[in-house]
């Protein structure tokens, strides 16, 4: 009985949301020819903007590299303050709550904020990536810290090791592979996040995508998009290969 009313409520929520957002299969079907036309107008890609696209892609990559690295370093101490088994109860509570608040906003929202604060360009993009990465990685790291096996740590204590030695030989070997894996994964997602930062003036390849679409220069836009797709695929491939070797 309770079960049925639960499913009914979920169904009602979906139907209500679809109705409110004007979901209409008919309009989708009507729009189909326009989509084809859009794609047709994007072809063939315009090779003359390739240099521009590559420069934009490189900048996106650089935003992701710096943003991920700095974010990861900032996340490290926060993670220990957000893990149940390493933080005092009050610190744990406040850190976790603060992380949840900061994580409620995505990179793009931070980018809007930092563009307003420091002006246009890749720098506000880097700052946005740093903030979001730090909060996400702090959460992921803290979960790895909580999942740590206390028994080997005890074994290192039992040989008469100092606190630093216990950290180096009991804790670090358990955490570092997870930390690196999470960081690489975050780097992959940061490339995608950084690709749209240009929409709000925060640097990278997104600026060219938005500009050429606005100028209705579809062949140029398609060159830029192709460069983006290739870059994301190459980074994903390399990064997931690396991650597979870590854990």
């Amino acid at each position: 009985m309770v079960r049925w009313s639960g499913w009914l409520a979920i169904a009602a929520a979906i139907i209500w949301s679809a109705w409110s957002t004007e979901v209409s299969p008919g309009r989708l079907i009507e729009g189909f020819p326009f989509m084809l036309d859009f794609i047709r107008r994007m072809l063939p890609p315009d090779p003359s903007v390739l240099g521009q696209a590559l420069r934009g892609a490189l900048q996106t990559l650089q935003i992701a590299v710096v943003g991920t690295a700095v974010g990861a370093v900032l996340a490290l101490p926060v993670a220990f303050a957000a893990a149940r088994n390493t933080a005092p109860a009050w610190a744990f509570y406040w850190t976790r709550s603060a992380l949840n608040v900061f994580r409620a906003m995505d990179t793009l929202v931070y980018a809007l904020f930092f563009v307003a604060a420091v002006g246009l360009g890749p720098f506000p993009g880097v700052l946005a990536v740093v903030v979001y990465t730090a909060t996400v990685l702090a959460k992921l790291y803290s979960e790895a810290i909580e999942a740590m096996d206390p028994l080997p740590v005890e074994a290192v204590e039992a040989v008469g090791a100092t606190r630093l030695q216990v950290l180096r030989w009991g804790v670090v070997p358990q955490l570092v592979p997870h930390f690196l894996s999470f960081t690489l994964y975050r780097f992959e997602t940061n490339i995608r996040a950084a690709a749209v930062l240009g929409f709000v003036g925060a640097g990278g390849i997104g600026f060219y995508i938005q500009t050429y679409l606005r100028l209705l220069n579809y062949p140029a836009a398609s060159t830029v998009l192709l460069v983006l797709v290739v870059m994301v695929m190459v980074v994903d491939f390399a990064s997931s290969r690396l991650r597979a070797r870590l854990v």
Partner: protein, 251 residues
């Protein structure tokens, strides 16, 4: 060598771990600590190297106080006491050799150990010890690629490179099958005989205790209820150690 006086441990949950245990162990003894699970065997062993701090009573090892020790004092006691755990407690991702080198941490320079640069003599000692426990040629393998019996040998090697005065073993074979249990117990007996190392091993299998121990100490509900040579352990005495208390309360 080991002096225990009036040792009691009450856990925050109210569980009584130990209830007034006094015990002397001389150098070179092989003591088998028997008792059913929850009798206090683990708690007693862990009090001997300060992994558990007792509620009352004193422990000294080699005339060094354990219970009242500063953190530096406790480290120096632990350096001389090898501890072998039921679940081996190896660092799974580290190589076998690195796991054994952990045993030399208290001896080597702290900064070099943090960089992972152990002195050549310590590396040599670790290799020699691995050979002694019957593990040659697996030094570079990850610890978790070994079988349970092999992992326990790595753990014993880790304790031996400490060059300890005492070896404490907490149910060292209970994660292993019977044949492996015997080989681990034989290894401990050889170490006791050849090096004159004092060994205290808790065992819940009576058969292993009487075969390998020279002296049997029986614990029940946190108290010593039997203490005597292994040869003289009567079936009735053994039964009394393992008999269950109906209420589960100390008598």
């Amino acid at each position: 060598m080991i002096r225990v006086r009036g040792l009691s441990k009450r856990y925050p949950s109210g569980t009584v771990g130990l209830d007034g245990v006094s015990l002397d162990v001389a150098a070179g003894e092989f003591v088998a600590l028997i008792g059913s699970s929850g009798a206090g065997k683990s708690t007693l062993l862990r009090c001997l190297n300060g992994l558990v701090s007792p509620s009352a009573g004193t422990v000294s090892v080699d005339d060094q106080p354990v219970t009242s020790a500063s953190s530096a004092g406790l480290r120096s006691v632990r350096a001389r006491v090898g501890f072998v755990f039921q679940q081996f407690n190896l660092l799974k991702r580290l190589s076998v050799l690195d796991n054994v080198l952990v045993g030399s941490l208290a001896r080597v320079d702290v900064w070099r150990s943090l960089l992972g640069r152990f002195p050549a003599e310590d590396v040599e000692r670790a290799r020699r010890t691995l050979k002694r426990v019957g593990l040659e040629g697996v030094e570079a393998q990850r610890a978790d690629t070994l079988s349970g019996g092999q992992q326990q040998r790595v753990a014993i090697a880790r304790a031996l490179v400490q060059e300890p005065r005492v070896l404490l073993a907490d149910e060292p074979m209970s994660s292993l099958d019977p044949a492996l249990s015997r080989s681990v117990m034989e290894l401990l007996r050889d170490i006791n005989r050849e090096d004159g190392l004092t060994v205290i091993a808790s065992l819940h299998v009576l058969d292993l205790a009487t075969t390998y121990g020279k002296r049997i100490v029986g614990l029940r509900a946190g108290r010593v209820v039997h203490d005597g040579p292994a040869a003289g352990l009567s079936p009735a005495a053994a039964e009394a150690v393992f008999a269950s208390d109906p209420a589960g309360e100390p008598r």
